[in-house]
């Protein structure tokens, strides 16, 4: 059953397309040598080119082009060996040149597609229309002075990839899953850090609604949404607004809107009539961007493993479920962590520990997989202590908690606290003999058929051994003694 929103006149379908602006990971800006580090002092990473000084000229940064090509390959897209930069002309205080250098008519990357994973376990293919390179504008700060606006040009000229999807999404969930998957691919490729809080990834969300079987109705664009959750909320809020407009006999006008995250509604930013005439034309300072297929092939050969490939490998090589493989590969840091733990060990057990105890510990300690409370090496060592019977599963959980608290290695904790499980059959027999002797009445009841009492004997034995008895051996000896 596909997603619809129920209005007064019946069910409405959603049609969603996303334009994602992803900041390219590079040391220098798209057309100047200035640095790109986030959070630097305002206006400390600005060349005269970025500030639009007279006589300054742009020179393309080769690495930014390579990053766009890698991304195109990661999106299964056509790489255009000939592309061109255009100027998008408009005035704004944080746009020093009075135009943005972008690729309007001839983008570097053409059509492609990615598969998204949905909650019900199904996948869906979303078309990519294009990817083009462009420079970012600076930042206007309106809250620093009662009557003045301040301009920070650090971001001016930073390379962005604008990735445009086909209008293939039909629900907030699909929009969220698309953005999640896109972010995952970019982060695997290392072409964008995907940090939406710092603004290195932002989405413009195009939404329209329609009745089943209809063509497209007018769409509205919700600009600059900066989290996956907000994208999903913006889609629904905008769809509901449009449904209300249509159902009250109105007409949805094409316009640009903003998502008010506080109130959960979209509001008008500018109408089609107010839309800029950007007067795009080829930038005469830049010859067409031309490169060889052999260069693309070399970049392709050096591409890292992508999420889909990695997920398939986990299922095939590690024997984990497709769902677990999905979870483990969502963040490349998680995947790296998992592989470090799983390598040469019980991969399914490793998956359970990572997704269970480790994730819980990360949530509890408000840390991240990039800076985990327990290192992959330590978690691996803990699994080894279970494999060689030094620790029972129960003891291992105890040790893990101490590891989270103290950051110490599991071997040390076992030694210090004497948590090593008892595997000496003689010692276990002696304890069991004592337990059975002290509970002769229960032994008689057990022997007369009350099988459930077996658990009682196990509990008493473990209690007597402070939990350190090897559970399998305790079971074996008890069975023999009670036979």
């Amino acid at each position: 059953m596909s997603y619809t929103i129920e209005g007064e006149t019946g069910a409405w379908e959603l049609v969603i397309g996303l334009e994602v602006h992803a900041q390219v990971v590079s040391n220098a800006k798209l057309f100047s040598g200035a640095a790109t580090e986030f959070g630097a002092e305002p206006n400390s990473q600005v060349s005269f080119i970025d500030a639009g000084f007279p006589g300054m000229l742009p020179v393309i940064n080769r690495e930014c082009v390579a990053q766009a090509v890698r991304t195109g390959l990661g999106l299964n897209a056509q790489v255009n060996l000939w592309s061109r930069f255009d100027r998008k002309n408009y005035f704004y205080a944080d746009l020093p040149q009075g135009y943005q250098i972008s690729q309007f008519a001839h983008p570097i990357i053409g059509t492609g597609q990615i598969d998204i994973e949905l909650q019900d376990g199904s996948t869906k293919t979303i078309g990519i229309t294009r990817l083009h390179l462009e420079q970012d504008a600076g930042k206007s700060l309106h809250d620093q002075h009662p009557t003045k606006s301040f301009i920070d040009l650090n971001r001016s000229g930073v390379a962005l990839m604008e990735i445009v999807s086909e209008p293939d999404m039909r629900s907030p969930e699909e929009a969220g899953a698309y953005l999640t998957k896109l972010r995952q691919i970019l982060r695997y490729l290392g072409t964008c850090d995907g940090n939406m809080e710092e603004g290195s990834m932002r989405a413009d969300v195009n939404v329209s609604v329609r009745k089943a079987g209809e063509g497209y109705r007018t769409r509205c664009e919700v600009k600059n949404v900066n989290s996956i959750r907000f994208v999903m909320q913006a889609v629904e809020a905008e769809a509901r607004r449009q449904i209300e407009v249509w159902e009250s006999g109105g007409t949805v006008e094409q316009e640009t809107r903003l998502f008010d995250t506080g109130r959960g509604i979209t509001r008008s930013m500018r109408s089609k009539e107010d839309a800029h005439d950007y007067r795009y034309f080829p930038d005469p300072d830049l010859p067409p961007l031309v490169f060889e297929q052999s260069w693309v092939d070399a970049l392709k050969a050096a591409l890292p493993e992508l999420p889909d490939q990695r997920r398939a490998r986990y299922v095939a090589d590690y024997g984990v479920t497709p769902y677990d493989a999905h979870v483990l590969t969502l963040e490349k840091e998680t995947a790296a962590y998992y592989e470090a733990v799983a390598k040469g060990r019980d991969a399914k057990q490793a998956a359970n520990w990572v997704m269970g105890d480790l994730f819980a510990a990360i949530n509890r300690t408000k840390t991240s997989i990039a800076e985990p409370p327990v290192s992959a090496a330590d978690l691996g060592a803990l699994l080894d202590l279970m494999a060689d019977n030094t620790l029972s599963g129960k003891l291992a959980k105890e040790v893990f908690e101490v590891m989270v608290e103290t950051g110490r290695a599991p071997g040390l904790i076992v030694e210090e606290r004497g948590l090593r499980q008892v595997t000496d059959t003689g010692a276990i027999e002696a304890v069991i003999d004592g337990v059975l002797a002290a509970n002769a009445d229960k032994v008689a009841e057990y022997k007369s058929g009350k099988d459930k009492l077996f658990g009682f004997f196990v509990g008493q034995t473990m209690k007597a051994m402070q939990g350190k008895g090897n559970p399998a051996l305790v079971n074996d000896v008890l069975k023999k003694k009670l036979a």
């Binding site: 007279p54 000229l57 002309n89 007067r279 034309f281």
Partner: protein, 495 residues
């Protein structure tokens, strides 16, 4: 001989031989500037003190045996080239007081080779004009005058009018210019000196205030073809900071000036015989062809079928690019800001640009904005680009038949202020013979070749294949030798 009468080649030799020092040479030119510039107004900014210091440093380098090819040569720099620490105005009020913290590549190279800069030359505002009258810093007086009307204030041409006048009046030995539609070749012709616009990409545009990026090209002015060749060698060369600069070796252009033109095929485009062309221009053109024939060249009639569309094409492409290039003059980061206390951003833009740009710049920004607008783009800008491609193709076909082309540089001699200079269309017609080279990216040299009946200089123009400035110099030098142009402007140093 007065030091201001040297050619560059002659001055280089005299400096080498110790006949004169760089300081003496510079001081002589500083004196000439002090005497003449108040009348000629060729320089917006005079850097006399820095020049004398630079000349002393030049003499010291020479004494250490480290003389560069232009060691101690006094030059003027068109005020469109950014010069570190020296005001750069582009002839506009909007950049008044702008002191660049960087140096253009061309001027960096000239300094590297030992040149001494005496000041920043006047020009049409943002290089938009053919009379130098659009400058916010006043017009420039052409050092030449009419025989029968000596009081008429003649224009030096434009946009590099200050550069051409300064060289003609012997205030400097040479100067830099830029040529977007004829801005070197037309003023050179009006002032009776030589000037070359090299192939697009030959000189870096880095640090030159942009007018129309796909057409702008720097080049030199001097009083001889050889001097232009000497200057161009220092100015030219690949620059990684300009994506449109050409990565190819810079030949010894001066050596090419001595080459014979024997056996060269010289094209005469029939489309350049335009209606209403003055008889003296026709006559001079024929004369030029005769000189080349006598020197052993073969004259070939050719056709450039789309040449007639060059002027309207230019006046779409150039304003389109200019409308975008000049958007950065917004009062936010540098230059003029004309805001009221309660101005919002839009008001700041409008006031700054209204106060900072003159009428011709405003006109071209509006034309350019119009031709790029939605609904008009295809009919104007795109169509113009197509015609531009056809014009370039015409030339490519011509190069299979000829090695160079000879044409007039301008449709008239220098005109006086007020003679049509208030009619934009009349003004635009000045560029009719020059814009084609810009649209096709070709090298074009203007050589003084004769006088009109009023005693005003007239120039001939040599066009060549892309990056074949050597043939252009050879042909230009042959005309120079045959013309034996000895006339001098009335207003000049040492006169």
């Amino acid at each position: 001989m007065h030091p201001t009468d040297f050619t560059i080649a002659g001055a280089v030799a005299a400096l080498e031989e110790g006949i004169i020092s760089a300081e003496e040479l510079t001081r002589a030119h500083v004196a000439a500037i002090e005497a003449l510039n108040p009348k000629v107004n060729a320089l917006i900014t005079v850097t006399a003190e820095q020049a004398v210091e630079a000349a002393k440093a030049s003499d010291a380098r020479r004494a250490r045996g480290e003389a560069g090819p232009l060691e101690g040569i006094p030059l003027a720099i068109k005020d469109l080239f950014c010069t570190e620490g020296v005001q750069t105005t582009a002839g506009s009020k909007i950049l008044e007081g702008f002191i660049p913290p960087y140096e253009s590549t061309v001027t960096t190279q000239l300094k590297r080779d030992g040149a001494v800069f005496l000041g920043k030359a006047n020009l049409d505002e943002f290089a938009m004009g053919s009379s130098n009258l659009t400058s916010a810093y006043g017009g420039v007086l052409n050092p030449w005058s009419r025989r029968n009307d000596p009081e008429a204030r003649l224009v030096p041409g434009g946009s590099s009018g200050g550069s051409a006048a300064a060289v003609a009046a012997r205030m400097v030995l040479g100067a830099t210019g830029t040529d977007t539609g004829g801005s070197i070749r037309q003023p050179a012709a009006f002032c009776g000196i030589a000037g070359i616009k090299p192939t697009y990409g030959r000189c870096s545009r880095f640090g030159i205030v942009a007018y129309a990026s796909s057409l702008d090209q720097a080049g030199p002015f001097a009083r001889t073809v050889e001097d232009c060749a000497i200057l161009l060698r220092s100015m030219a060369g690949f620059d990684p900071k300009d994506s449109t600069s050409a990565d190819r070796p810079v030949p010894d252009f001066a050596a090419a000036c001595g080459r014979s033109v024997k056996g060269l095929r010289i094209g005469v485009p029939r489309e350049y015989h335009i209606d209403g062309m003055p008889a003296e221009i026709e006559k001079l053109w024929r004369q030029g062809l005769d000189w080349l024939r006598e020197a052993g060249a073969e004259i070939v009639d050719i056709s450039l079928p789309h040449a007639g569309y060059a002027l309207p094409t230019y006046y779409i492409v150039a304003p389109a690019e200019a409308s975008s290039n000049l958007a950065r003059y917004d009062g936010v980061r540098f230059g003029l800001r004309a805001a009221e206390k309660d101005s919002d951003l839009r008001d700041l833009y409008e006031r700054t640009r209204a106060a900072g740009f003159g009428p011709e710049v405003r006109r071209r920004i509006m034309i350019g904005t119009y031709v790029l607008s939605a609904g008009y783009y295809d009919a104007y800008y795109l169509k113009a680009q197509k015609v531009r491609a056809l014009i370039a193709r015409d030339f490519r076909e011509a190069w299979s038949k000829v090695d160079a082309i000879l044409a007039p540089a301008t449709p008239s001699a220098a005109f006086a202020e007020g003679e049509g200079s208030d009619d934009p269309v009349q003004m635009y017609l000045n560029d009719v013979f020059t814009v084609t080279a810009n649209l096709a990216g070709l090298p074009g040299l203007s050589v003084p070749a004769g006088l009109d009946p009023q005693g005003l200089p007239l120039g001939l123009q040599v066009l060549g294949r892309p990056f074949d400035e050597e043939t252009v110099f050879a042909v230009g030098a042959a005309i120079e030798r045959a013309a034996d142009f000895k006339a001098l402007p009335g207003m000049r140093a040492g006169a």
